[in-house]
Structures are given as C-alpha cells and as structure tokens.
Amino acid sequence: MSAELIEIAELVTSWSDSDEQVEAVVTSDRETEVRAYEGEIESLTVAESQGIGVRVIKDGRQGFAYAGTLEENELLEVLSEARDNASFASPDEFSGLAEPDGVESVSLDVYSDGVDSLATSEKIDYALELEKLTLATDKRISGIESSEYTDVVSESAIATSTGIRSSSKESGCCLMVYALAEEKGETQTGFGFSIGRNPDELDVVKAASDASDRATRMLGSTKPKSERLTVVLDPWVSAQFLQIVGSTLSAEMVLKGRSLFADRLGETVASPIISLVDDPTNPQAFTATETDGEGLATRRNVLIENGELKMFLHNVWTARKAASTSTGSAIRSYASTPGVGIQAISLKPGGRDPVDLIAGIDNGILVQSVTGLHSGVNPISGDFSTGAEGLRISNGELSEPLREFTIGSTIQKMLKDVSEVGSDLEWLPMSSAGSTVVINELTVSGA
C-alpha cells in the first residue's frame, strides 16, 4: 500500500505548474477496536480511512486543502482548492516546501505484521480477558467502566515538487482498562494499559493490575491541607509535564513571541541535573518515526543539557525565518499544515531509583495523576496549576491517599526546582517518556 500512497502523492505533485510548489501528504489507516463489557462484546469496530492534504505555495503565498478520501476525481479538486486558497494568503518570503537536505533517515522497525495477522476473534479475547482479569485482581474492584483492545496500521507518504519523497508504515496496538473500586460506599477509578507494535508485546496482567492498584489505592482518600512542600511526580505525570515544557521550545513559539524561553539560548533555564532530548529516531519511543511531517529525516535534538538551553525545534518555515536549518520537527496530520513540535522527548535518567528517592523525603506528596492540563496550564505566561491525586510521603514511606487538590507553580520555577530525576524511564503512549522526578517545592492547594 505504501508504494501506492507515494504514487498518489507523486501524481498530485506532477500536476504542479512551473511557478508553484506543491506538496501532497497521503495517509491510510486500518483500525480495529473491541470493547468488552460484562463478559460480552460491547462493540467491535473495523474500519479503514484515507486522506490527502495538499499544500500549494506560489509567490510566497500558501494555500491548503484536504479530503478524507483518495478517489481520483477528488484529488484534482483538492489541488485546485489549495491553489485558490493560496491566492488569498499574505505573501511571506519565508514560505517554502522542504528540499532534500542530505540528512539520511535512520531505518526504524516500526511495523510488525502481528496486528494484521491476528484473527479478530483473538482481538476480542484480549478485551474480554482484560476485563475478566481486572475484575479478579481485588475483591474491591466493583466494576469495569471499559475494557478495550485497539490496533492500527498507518501508512503515509509525502511527495513535493521540490524533490521530497518519503513513505512509512507502522503498526501499534493497545490494551486499555478503566476499573471502578468500591468500599464503604465510596467509589474510585483507575486505569491500566499496555502498548506495543505487535500484539505479542501486550501484557494483559500488567494492565489489569495497574488499573486495580490505581483504583484501590485511592480508597479512603482525603483532601490535604494547603501548603508548600516537596512533590514527587511519577512517570505518567512527568511525561505529561515534559510535553508542556517541550511545547515552549518550538521555534514557532519563539519567532511569534509566545515562548517564555525566547532570548534564553545558552542560559541556564533548569536545574543542572536536567538534560532534555527529543529523539524520534529512538525505536523505544512509540512515536518514533523516520521522517517528519515535511518528509525530512528526523534527528536527535538535545534541547537542554545540564540545565542549559541549547536549541529550539524547527520545521522548514521557522528555519528559513530564523536563518537556521530544520531539525526535522514538523508535525501534522493530513488535514493540517505543518506545525513544529516534540516527537519523542525524555529526560536523561539520574542515578537513584524511585524507592530510594522517596526514602529521602520526610514530608511530601507523590502525585500519580493530574487533570486539567489543558485548562490550568498557560505555556505562554508559564503559570500552571492542575488537579492532582496521589499518596502522602511521610518519613521516607508512602502513606495515605490524597485527592481533590491542585499543584501549582510556574514552568520557569518548576524546572529550576527539580532536585532529582530517577533512574527509571518509561516510554508511554504519548510523544514523551516519563521518569520519577522530585521537585523541591510546589504549592499544594487543598482544604
């Protein structure tokens, strides 16, 4: 199919006139989703979807159009819409498509045929088994809100009239369960998951026990009092914060005056123990990819090293505007023009494991989940406060569960207040990995 997608992309770019640049992004996904409920299949979805996005640049003006189909008569229409749209955009001397830059892309093994070869009945069994196992983990598990198996095989291709050709194929599968725990009339929830490129990498037992642990450990939770204290973020939480930090390091944010780190290159912006790397060539990341959203090779980008800000991420447009080179960091779907962003970000692990880190804390909170990241974090001003749940740390040990509180600081201050990064590192179903992170001081708002 990849060969076919690149042919479609090339067909569209072959229609370009000599005074314009044309880029076509073509994608095709096959997916299965099974949901189990009370021992039955609640729903089974099997689907294929395709899409094409076409970008035209003429006289520095950019236009874009997309369609959720690859029918040939629609391709021409998409191109002509994009052309028409370009005529209404402002001329911008930095507009332009990617051109081959000589950087070889790494070869990544991100497709495995296990998803395609697994029978639907076995996919169903995964979802049913996950529900059954989760219910059996603990007698306080009172129900399962959802238990699902999902998989996807995605193919995509990019071609441009400027000589870019790239295509990729990847597979992924995931088990996800939400458990309800009940005791003395109180209900708590917890989720567990397992992801892989191939179904044989899925760990049903781990997903079930994680969901059960997350739900049951919150039973009997209370609201902490408001105070400033040491907070430990678990990998699931730190990975989400890394995504926010990463978003402030896009050159688009910098060039458009929206990054709190603009003009800080070469300065110390974080604790000296922080080294932050965005590396989509790392095959351990589930978001690993050989090429970026403009068809350029991805590369390893060191953003912060020992606390010092080293670089910003670029796509072709930001690179031209900043007289720099693309870092292979264009991100997009077929329905959008390329933005700039992290693709697989992680912290350099420290030397101590999480148990050891917690043992050194007299009074603190281990935060295990956060909510409201989209509503309580302002990546431009740096202010943040999010809802949180977790466990009290007393005299080096985990103790009672806590909920209905927020943690707050600013992104700038938090990066400097990091006192430890754990030796653990876990790639998660997002464009970041998590590690256990100790922050000297955050404001906890509760009772």
Partner: protein
C-alpha cells in the same frame, strides 16, 4: 428534502436489509458530508486558508448487547454493502433473518434556517475579517505584542436511516471567530482570548463586530499584566454571567449521561428524584436553542433535539439518553445521541447546558462576599464522573476583597467535587447569559456544545493558585 439527500433512499433500504441479514436486531446507516473552511492570521500575516471535505458513512448493527460498527468513505453501492457486511459480521449473530426495511415514511425535522450560506461568501470577505481584527488591536495603542485570529465555518449534511423505518436528515451550519492576544510587561507575558460561535451562517458577522471580539481578547491579556498570583485554598467563588457553564458541564453534566449512569461510573447513579443541589438550582440541557453552538434539528441518531430538565429546584429529574441506553430502559431517546463524525459510534452527549436564572442581584452577590475570587471567564475543565472530582480553568479572574473586585489574578485551575458544589451554590442572579462556544471531549470524540449561566456563587471551592 433534496438538500439533505446524499444517498438515495432505495440504496439505504437495500444496505439496511443486507446489514440485518445475519440476524441483528437493529441496523443504522449514518451518512455525512462535511465541508469546512478555516482561515488563520498570525503575526500579522494571513498564514493560510484551509478547505476540507469529509464524506462517508458509518454503519452499525446491533445484535443482543453487541454493536458491530464499520465506516467507509466510499458511498457507492459496493462500498456501502461492504461496510454493512463488516458491521454485521462484527455483531456476529448466528441466526439468519430476512428483514425488509421500509423507508417510505421520511420524517421532516426542524432544520435551522440560514440567511447567508458561508460557501456563498467570498474567501476575501472572510480574510478581511481577520485583517480587521488584527488592525483594530494593533491600532489601539495597547502593550499587545502578538495577535492571532481564526475564522471557521462548517457545513454538515446528515442523512440517517435505520431498520425501524426511520429516514431523516439535517443540515447543520456553524460559523465561528476567535482572537488570541499576547501582552508583554515587566513581569513577562500574559494571554487573552475571546471567541464567538453560533449555529448560523455568515449572518453571524452582522450581529458580531470582530473588532470588538479582538479588543476584548487584547484587554484580557493587558489586564493580566498587573495580575497577582492566585490564592491557594478553599474560599467563596463568584462566577460571572455566561462564565459558569463549564462549571456545571463538569460538576454534574457528564455525571447525568445515561451511559455512565448505567455502568455505575457516576456519582449521580440512583439519585433520580433526590435532592442533589441547592433548592435554587434548575439545570437544563436544550438542543433546540436556535442559533446556539450545540443546536441541531436531529441528533446523530436521527432523534429530534429536546429540551430536557435535568435538575429542577434542586431535585434530579432525569438523565440524558441516547438510542441504545433508552431502548434498554424502555423509554425514548432524549435527543442526546451524538458523534464527532461518521467514523465514530454515537454516545450520550450534552447539547446546550444551562443554569436557569435566579432572582439575586449580581452586584449584591459580590458585595456580600468578604473575601474570595470572581471568575469572569472560565477555561476548559475535566471531571472524573465516578468520584465527582472536577477541575476547571480560569482565564480571567479577580480577587474579591471586602465585597469589591480587586486585583486581577493569574491563570490556574479550581478543583471541587460535583455533588458538594451543587449543594454549595448559595446565590444565583437574574443576569443570565450564554457563554463561549465549546468543544466537549469524551472518549476521544469532540462535539460542539454551548452553555450558559447567570452570576452565581459557590460558597466554597478550592482555588489552585500559588499565593499562600
């Protein structure tokens, strides 16, 4: 209704009959043709115009408790038959059946009237709105360093048919405009945003002055340059008119969705008929509100939009229902079955959710508050329906000191527990207003929703600031 015919009724009958062949108890075909346009201005330049088209059909077949679902972008007879087969084999019933589906009785919904179809408006007029918004801020002499403006319209045509003989359709047109500004001062950058969106055509811009929208966003950012860190801890929170919808959406709206109730994943399960809120609270979900962002003639299962009273004078009167949950309980859908697109299964969703006006005086509510915060604009929110814990963001808020509005405060979240917050509402004013257009996310699907409230006070909520 030729306007909403995408696939002929003969072909729909055929496809539904073949979907029912494997013995399912219900089959449905949802056909959608959506065209959307967006235009973005940023950093003084019209960056791009984007036109999109998504067209396809989702077919579901229900057999017992199992739903089989397949979707396709291929609306030809062979494409639809292939999807019907995939959905029916997914529902995997063992019996064989011959079901004749008769779609001769087409129902006519109350489709919104549109004065100016966006597709008939030139792109240059749409772009001119962006430029005007940008210039009005840049000419205002404010310490605003960046302006981004976005215009959007969508034209969504639906055709829905099912094995019970339903054949209906809708045409939903939405228009929106938003502006985000960055202001810079000695203490760093601040942001302000304002958006308008209605289920109407380009006539939106006859009633809405985009320059005013832009200046509102700019003023918000500039005001916050003098902001102080938000307080930390429990205190009274007054929410301004139109601002509090998100609070109710999260505090109890999601918890009143029948799919979550059925799975005991809501703190409001089993509470029908009980007092769940302060006696002055009447909460309504209403998909019929003409022009509002969450308005439609029929939901995404073909049922007409309804006005549903969820809480009346503090008593929980009813939940919100989709076809599947309603069928199980032997009742009618409340018109709350919605989906993001033909690629998604429907589920229970809100439409326009609002708190009915009370008889308080907004000024007196503030004067009556010794110390607390006043939230003029809320950001998004999130809820865990099983525990009732929810957060919502504040993007324009002020301290209240000695009954008067004082310094603006920096962005942050508030956290509370839904059932407790409903009981803690101790004042509701008469100054009802609808809020900003929103996109509600649930299980990865986003749908447009509206909300509204008058000024109200919650006597105790936890403000997640950093000032102690």
């Amino acid at each position: 209704m030729t306007e909403i015919q995408i696939v002929s009724s003969d072909l729909l009958e055929e496809v539904l009959s073949s979907a029912m062949k494997s013995g399912g108890s219900f089959a449905e075909i949802f056909v959608e043709d959506r065209r959307s346009t967006s235009a973005v201005l940023d950093d003084g330049l019209v960056e791009e115009l984007n036109n999109g088209r998504d067209r396809g059909a989702g077919i579901r077949v229900v057999s017992g408790e199992t739903t089989g679902f397949a979707h396709t972008a291929d609306l030809s007879a062979s494409g639809l038959h292939k999807a019907a087969e995939a959905a029916s084999s997914a529902a995997r019933s063992n019996s064989e059946a011959v079901v004749e589906v008769d779609l001769s009785n087409e129902s006519t919904p109350n489709i919104s009237e549109i004065e100016i179809f966006p597709k008939e408006v030139s792109k240059s007029r749409k772009v001119a709105l962006l430029k005007s918004a940008d210039e009005s801020v840049r000419d205002a002499g404010l310490p605003v360093t960046q302006v981004a403006a976005r215009y959007g319209d969508s034209h969504r045509v639906l055709q829905i048919a099912n094995s019970e003989g339903l054949l209906t359709g809708d045409r939903q047109i939405r228009s929106s405009f938003s502006v985000s500004c960055v202001a810079a001062g000695d203490a760093g950058m601040q942001t302000g945003r304002e958006s308008v969106g209605r289920t109407v055509g380009f006539e939106l811009f006859e009633d809405t002055n985009v320059d005013e929208v832009a200046l509102k966003a700019a003023t918000r950012a500039v005001t916050k340059l003098d902001s102080v860190p938000a307080p930390s801890g429990e205190m009274p929170v007054v929410v301004g008119p139109g601002g509090g919808g998100v609070l109710f959406h999260e505090a109890c709206g999601h918890g009143l969705e029948a799919d979550l109730i059925e799975k005991s994943a809501s703190v409001f399960a089993g509470k029908q008929g009980e007092m769940v809120a302060a006696p002055n609270v009447t909460l309504i979900d209403d998909g019929t509100m003409v022009g509002e962002w969450g308005r439609f003639a029929i939901d995404d299962e073909g049922n007409p939009a309804h006005q549903n009273v969820l809480i009346e004078d503090g008593v929980l009167t009813d939940y919100m229902w989709d076809w599947q949950r309603a069928r199980k309980h032997g009742r009618l859908s409340s018109g709350n079955g919605r989906r993001q697109s033909y690629r998604h299964l429907p589920m229970v969703r809100m439409t326009n959710t609002f708190l009915a006006a009370g008889d308080g005086n907004p000024q007196e509510i503030i004067e009556d508050t010794e110390y607390g915060i006043y939230v003029a604009q809320l950001g998004g929110g999130q809820v865990n329906t099983a525990t009732g814990d929810f957060v919502f963001g504040m993007t324009e808020a002020y301290l209240i000191e000695n009954g008067k509005l004082a310094a603006p405060i920096r962005d942050g979240n508030l956290i509370g527990n839904g059932p407790q917050v409903l009981l803690d509402i101790d004042a509701i004013a008469g100054d009802f207003a609808m809020g900003s257009p929103g996109t509600c996310g649930k299980d990865g699907q986003g749908v447009p929703v509206g909300d509204g409230t008058p000024t109200l006070r919650v006597k105790r909520l936890t403000v997640g600031g950093t000032a102690t």
